[in-house]
Symmetry: C2
Subunit: 339 residues, 2 copies
């Protein structure tokens, strides 16, 4: 149901039946290692290129989610997914392996919630029995795509963020036990003129604030409706700017309840500059950490706001600023709502 | 409604209220020039880079579709769109201008029907009042992205195809006059091991055949249900391979009713090798030419099967084969089905 201009409310409460989260070694040494299903011990994930490693992460996370639900790829109608590579080839190549009908998405680091919003809409209207959705990123692939190959060892400023090596996938169904998807607010492209590709968090903060503000207004709720409002990868600087923007516009939001996946996944002594980023960041932290906390009864309602910077190296070279977007999806503890 | 494994039937028959099609000069000299709303006289479209020209084509087509329906960007809930550029920046930058909530898609040249399938599903369940969907490509941008800058003047083999400079956009609504979207079949990623990026049509043919076969089976119809089955950009070689594959598997399909957007847009004396391609090809030919023919009463039911090659220059360099996909959407003459 359309509520307001750009918010869907899912009356039939599609269920996140299972999730699969697979990460690299650096993430395995981070703060949330207990929340991941598989931790690869080397960055190559047993493959002979980083691109194939990125594909492997996606495939592994998908098969893990299916396995937990006792399902096979053939049981699934659709995949809604994407990544940050040029032409999202890792996701497309993984979907070749999986042989599941496939909607390719590109929302940069907002892809996880772009996919969950779309998948939940389809599931809410019985457009599928099972849908897989999620995203992947690999540090070495994304750094090479957007900045420099990691082998160069180029220096980065303190505003930069560390791309997560990891994939988070969710298997949705119409009923059964598990957290439920209750609403989604789709982002507009917001660009306040920032152009520094080493400060993505700062560029993305206004998009996150715009989407959260629209969500609260269109659902007619206040921020304390949620136990947590969780942004994707604003990092330290982006989160701080977002809090300033909320204050300026008079939106009350509890600082402790406004969290960021990019500030949770690594330990404080890991050298990640302003925090984590990458399209796998919000996917892995949401489908790993936060849904585990929800299953343990620690969280009842969360709003996940995945943030994406829609630039390319070419647009940066052409002196364009960085347009950004954020998609918000609310997830609630579902109990057993079998139909 | 899910019909079979990967086909949606849209009982509420979402309406294509209006379309906007804007092309470049080479397309303006082609066979379908009367079907386009705007023909740019130079390839730069008044911009100082080809990338900005690609963005302009998208914006112009969108504004043209809105204008014909007497609507403004603010009236539209969602855009479902994408292009072939790295990180689909032309589409994202255009959506910054339009300020409409935005789902970024990547399906290579299948994006037009990927978007129409999703938009029609959302519209079928009243998830929006108005949705814009479509795609864009620009010859010089796509050649530079996938092969060589056109300024190099590099030679191409006869199997290669010519990327369309153009954008086709459709405005969907729940009721009113216009052609209606009646069903969609979502493609699987199919890869029979072809690896020549100068023969995309040949690589994509099996994906088109797979999706068309699934569509006919899951809707329990034969190919002659449609006046035309129209592939996106198989070109001469791909179309010929597709017809062979249909014959091999015993699917009856009338050769004259199996058409290809990539073989229609240019005149025979234009030097386009095996035909046209590009994500703007199926969008411009469908939303321009075929919907005009439908409005004139020449066509009642068509199945548009947009085909995409999901490679990148990097996957080619890494000796990968070319995974392909095709999404099919049926469009029927609607009359006035105001609700």
């Amino acid at each position: 149901m359309l509520s307001g201009h750009r918010t869907w409310v899912f009356e039939n409460r599609p269920v996140i039946t299972s999730t699969g989260v697979v990460v690299g070694p650096f993430e395995g040494n981070g703060r949330l290692s207990d929340d991941f299903d598989t931790i690869h011990e080397d960055l190559w994930c047993g493959q002979d290129s980083y691109e194939k490693a990125q594909k492997k992460l996606f495939e592994d996370a998908t098969l893990k989610a299916l396995d937990k639900a006792g399902k096979k790829p053939d049981d699934v109608q659709f995949v809604f997914a994407g990544d940050l590579s040029n032409q999202i080839t890792s996701t497309s190549f993984a979907c070749r392996t999986l042989a599941i009908p496939y909607f390719g998405l590109f929302g940069a680091c907002s892809t996880s919630m772009e996919g969950l919003a779309m998948a939940a809409f389809v599931m809410n209207y019985q457009g599928a029995e099972y849908i897989l959705t999620g995203s992947v990123s690999h540090n070495a692939v994304v750094e090479k795509t957007f900045r420099y190959p990691t082998e160069y060892g180029s220096q980065k400023p303190p505003t930069s963020q560390w791309t997560v090596t990891g994939s988070g996938m969710a298997l949705l169904s119409q009923g059964g036990a598990g957290p439920v998807v209750t609403s989604a607010t789709i982002g507009k492209v917001i660009d306040l003129g920032m152009s520094d590709p080493f400060n993505m968090g700062g560029a993305m903060a206004p998009a996150a604030v715009d989407t959260i503000t629209a969500h609260l207004k269109e659902r007619n709720i206040t921020a304390d409706y949620y136990d947590l409002i969780i942004t994707g990868d604003l990092g330290k600087i982006g989160r701080s700017i977002a809090l300033d923007l909320f204050k300026q516009q008079g939106t009350e939001i509890d600082v402790d309840r406004f969290q960021d996946c990019g500030l949770l996944i690594y330990r404080d002594d890991q050298p990640v500059f302003a925090g984590a980023s990458g399209s796998g960041c919000s996917a892995a932290v949401t489908y790993g950490h936060f849904l585990n906390r929800m299953k343990r009864g620690e969280l009842t309602r969360i709003l996940v706001v995945a943030t994406g910077a829609l630039l390319s190296p070419l647009t940066f070279q052409q002196n364009e600023s960085i347009p950004c977007i954020a998609h918000a999806v609310s997830i609630e503890a579902g109990g057993n709502n079998s139909q």
